[in-house]
């Protein structure tokens, strides 16, 4: 189950943020918080591994990883779809 807290934990491990991930709100702009494009790929890989999902090509963009809330939403959707498949 993807929750804001699980995403925040993965973000703290792989996001290479200059700020403490615990201080980030669900709607905080992660790019403004210093998420680089390189770190965002590492974050995607860690999330794929954690939730046993694969991000389809149309979701591999800046918008998907812009806030904790959008990541939770996308991961929840994908978990449902890909488990059903």
């Amino acid at each position: 189950m993807a929750t804001a807290d699980t995403i925040r934990t993965i973000l703290a491990q792989h996001g290479k943020l200059p700020v403490d991930a615990a201080t980030l709100g669900e709607d905080s702009d992660l790019y403004a918080a210093g998420l680089s494009s390189f770190a965002s790929v590492q974050l995607m890989l860690a999330i794929e591994e954690e939730f046993d999902i694969e991000f389809p090509e149309n979701l591999l963009n800046r918008k998907t990883f812009s806030t904790i809330a959008t990541i939770v939403e996308v991961v929840t959707e994908l978990s449902k779809d890909q488990q059903a498949a």
């Binding site: 943020l17 200059p18 700020v19 790019y31 403004a32 918080a33 210093g34 998420l35 680089s36 494009s37 390189f38 790929v41 995607m44 890989l45 794929e48 991000f55 090509e57 149309n58 591999l60 963009n61 800046r62 918008k63």
Partner: protein, 393 residues
Amino acid sequence: MTIQGAVAPLALMDRAKRVAAIAAEHADQVDAEGRFPAEAVAAMRSERLLGIQIPTAQGGEGVSVLEIAEICTTLGKGCSAAAMVFAMHQIKVSSLVSHGSGAGWHEAFMSRVAGEQLLLGSATTEGGIGGNLRNSICAIEVDGDTCRLEKDATVISYGDQADAILITSRAHADAAPSDQVMTVFLKDQYTLDKTQTWDALGMRGTCSDGYVFKGEAPAQQILPRPFAEIAAQSMLAHAHILWSAVWYGIAADAFARAQAFVRAAARRSPEAMPPGALRVAEASSLLQGVKASIIAALTQYATAKGDEDKLSAMSFAVAMNNLKIASSQNILTIINHCMLICGILGYKNGTPYSLGRHLRDAHSAQLMISNDRILGNTSTMLLIHKQDTSLLA
């Protein structure tokens, strides 16, 4: 399409060819003296090429990247430095057109660029960032309606000649290095203190000197979108496509010289195949490959244009990166082939077959944004992005 619409590109290319002829006439001197291609840029102004990309509503001609790429190639055949100045200017204009539309100050500025034929420079490089233009150390300071910026800009191409500079910085004093904005400063709003002089192997006329930039301007001159979006959605594609178009032009001129060399030999002794003939055929195939990659990227950009999701997709970034890698490497192979064909007459300066300038200029291609850095970024994306390997999609 109206008849006028169909005829316009022809007239546009005539204008570009006139500029290219002037650029070619001065190319050797520009290279030898490492001076700005002033005659070519004056011709761009008199042919009104600097504002062509700007929408007609702002006094431009709304010309597409396709036609601008064709102009870059045409100019690149005459003088690489003049062509690269034109390309770099147009890359800056593309950011204004894509991200400044709707913003009052930037729309008015676009009208000025078209009306006064202003030349736009770029300051994205900074001492200490290790060449990664998606990071800044300096931060813009917004104080009421005014913004101030000081930057150790280790490269500002044609900084002395630019009429305005588009410069990146962190968005504010507490912003992360990757949280950047881009700001337009007009010539009378900044000072440039030269720290490094451009005395380089090639592309000598771009005058890519280093400066300490200090500027103060109304805060509304900051582009309204984050630089991350500008970089992904307009700079990436325009830079890799227009640079590649310039490089293709350099290689195409080298090829024309090599082919002329072999044809002259064949005319002298029609009974024997000249020794370089096979290599001309090889170079022809390589040159066609570069051309095809540029056309493919232009087609992909035309499909994605105006769609933020497509423009910021990894598939798009990987494709544009791949274009840059392929064209920057292949032009060196092509020009080297041409050198083998022309032999000592290609190696010597001042012959109709001289290729030294072409080869030196072409060596910049792998380095302006290092291919190693681009391959590094692509390899990161390929950890997660699955490349579309279909033929026509």
